[in-house]
């Protein structure tokens, strides 16, 4: 009986903690939006220089690895598409699957996972270290709102830069896949690009772009929530960093599935 009670007690505590964390996340989001729009009127604007620095760190700094991953994904899709469609003799239609899956799914998803691992962990570790070193307390006692100073620039940067990376991934993936397909099917690269542009609609690209913006928001909020909730010194920093990456990737994959379902039904 005691074991059963303990089991339900543990579930109850975890559920309450989950609600608590997501409530905190929602409050962070609302507060950030408020500071972005009204900060200037109270002479506490969200600094463009901070936002730009974060954009460089999260976006431009990730360009080489993002391009490499996108090219690899494009090639993998091309290889698999040609193989599976070859079973029906429909290899010439490979461009359809590649174009739609890259723009609607793979680019936002892979870039989301990349940035969750690269920047989500960095956000979490940075905030956790700042919390432990009392730097966040120092901001508060100086009268500098930490959400305005630290969180809002990160969220803006992620919401802007993740779609940019997804756009880059679209170009690189489709380009890499196009090279492979055109060589394999002995057609010109130009005709592959022409077919791809014909099949793609603005909605398909927008779907991926909006989704990646949402993933950026998720990564930022999860990183900040974990970083701000750190306890237990250096060990705690490691714990929240890992937790932040796992939670962000899970949130991205699950929400991707939900958005995918809702947008096609």
């Amino acid at each position: 009986m005691a074991a059963v009670l303990r089991f339900f007690d543990a579930i109850g505590r975890r559920t309450a903690r989950g609600f608590d964390e997501w409530g905190f996340g929602a409050a962070l989001l609302i507060e950030s939006v408020i500071w972005i729009f009204i900060g200037r009127f109270y002479r506490q604007p969200v600094r463009f220089t901070h936002t730009f620095a974060e954009m460089m760190r999260f976006g431009i700094g990730a360009l080489p690895i993002a391009a490499l991953l996108a090219a690899t994904i494009g090639l993998m899709l091309a290889i698999q598409s040609l193989y599976s469609l070859g079973l029906f003799g429909a290899q010439s239609f490979a461009y359809i699957g590649i174009a739609l899956s890259v723009t609607r799914e793979f680019s936002p998803l892979i870039m989301g996972i990349l940035i969750a691992g690269r920047s989500g962990s960095a956000i979490s570790a940075r905030l956790a270290t700042m919390t432990i070193n009392q730097e966040v307390d120092a901001l508060q006692v100086m009268g500098i709102n930490p959400v305005r100073f630290l969180v809002a620039p990160m969220l803006i940067a992620l919401v802007i830069m993740l779609p940019c990376l997804a756009m880059l991934a679209n170009l690189v993936s489709i380009g890499a896949a196009g090279l492979y397909v055109s060589v394999s099917l002995d057609q010109t690269f130009g005709s592959y690009v022409y077919q791809t542009l014909k099949i793609l609609k603005t909605d398909d690209v927008l779907h991926g772009i909006i989704k990646s913006s949402f993933f950026g928001l998720l990564i930022g909020l999860i990183g900040v929530m974990n970083g701000a909730g750190v306890s237990g010194g250096a060990e705690g920093v490691g714990r929240v960093t890992t937790r932040s990456v796992v939670q962000a990737i899970t949130a991205i994959v699950v929400s991707d599935m939900v958005i995918g379902y809702l947008s096609t039904h």
Binding site: Q44, Q134, A138, M142, G143, I144, N145
Partner: protein
């Protein structure tokens, strides 16, 4: 040479009567505080006057850091419990609280300097974010404050390149850069050797003399407390057991006050059975 001259110089202190004739700048009124079921502050009341150096002393776990966090507004606000510069922290609106915070400075125990900024940028941060001055004026003000704490010429260094004493001094420079009316120093001498610690005490006295600010120092360094304090408030297990000028604290009859200032350990009765029961979680 300059340091030696500073060490021998005696910085005059105002008398208690002089201080008490001045306006109250900090007022704590019957403050209780608990972390869950564990109460850490019991009915704490105190007043600090303009230009006074108040030292809050106590052993580990006595509640002095919690009290300091209440004083600087880092704890959830409670109405009519803590007043700074005549304003009740518990009933202030968020933006008024931000305005009030511009009038106070805090130097944390480990400095809390931003590791991504150099010393000068750290000192300039409140000016940049709150005062909206041009870059040249901010440079001049930061240089002046660094000079006050004997840190001129070190502005380009990153916090990781500083010694413990320099971190504390840079942190004090950042705390005074907005010309506050009140500064709070958390364990300014912890982790420092006696010479650096003594120089820091002189700096605190000099700051009060030059800027006329009120200073609240939280420390467990007895020597430093007696040197700088106009009054010493002794916290013991969350209760104020004495709040007097240093000379009266020396002769205070309370055994726990004497244990603290004479660094005597206390005899603690341990019941082995009770200890084992608690270990087993009963």
């Amino acid at each position: 040479m300059a340091v030696a001259a500073q060490e021998t110089e005696i910085i005059p202190k105002p008398t208690l009567a002089e201080l008490q004739a001045r306006p109250v700048v900090i007022e704590v009124d019957h403050l209780d505080w608990s972390f869950g079921a564990r109460q850490v502050l019991f009915d704490v009341s105190m007043k600090v006057h303009e230009g006074e150096i108040m030292v809050i002393m106590g052993g580990s776990g006595s509640g002095k850091t919690t009290l300091l966090r209440h004083l600087v507004g880092l704890m959830p606000p409670m109405t009519d419990k803590v007043k700074l510069l005549g304003q009740d922290l518990g009933s202030l609106k968020a933006l008024d609280k931000l305005d009030l915070k511009r009038k106070i400075g805090v130097a944390f125990q480990f400095g809390a300097l931003f590791s991504s900024m150099n010393v000068a940028e750290n000192v300039k941060l409140p000016l940049r974010e709150l005062a909206h001055l041009d870059e040249k004026t901010m440079d001049i003000m930061a240089r002046l404050k660094l000079e006050v704490v004997n840190m001129s010429g070190f502005g380009h260094l990153m916090p990781a390149e500083l010694s413990g004493g320099m971190v504390k001094r840079a942190s004090i420079a950042r705390a005074i850069v907005m010309d506050p009316k009140l500064i709070f120093l958390d364990e300014p001498s912890s982790g420092l050797d006696p010479v650096v610690s003594s120089a820091l005490d002189d700096l605190i006295l000099r700051l009060r003399e030059a800027m006329g600010i009120s200073v609240v120092v939280v420390t467990h360094d007895v020597e430093s407390a007696f040197k700088i304090g106009d009054r010493i408030t002794v916290l013991d297990r969350g209760r104020i057991i004495a709040s007097e000028p240093p000379e009266q604290i020396r002769v205070n009859p309370n055994e726990r006050v004497q244990n603290l200032i004479n660094r005597r350990s206390e005899h603690v009765e341990v019941d082995p059975e009770e200890y084992l029961r608690r270990l087993a979680g009963d």
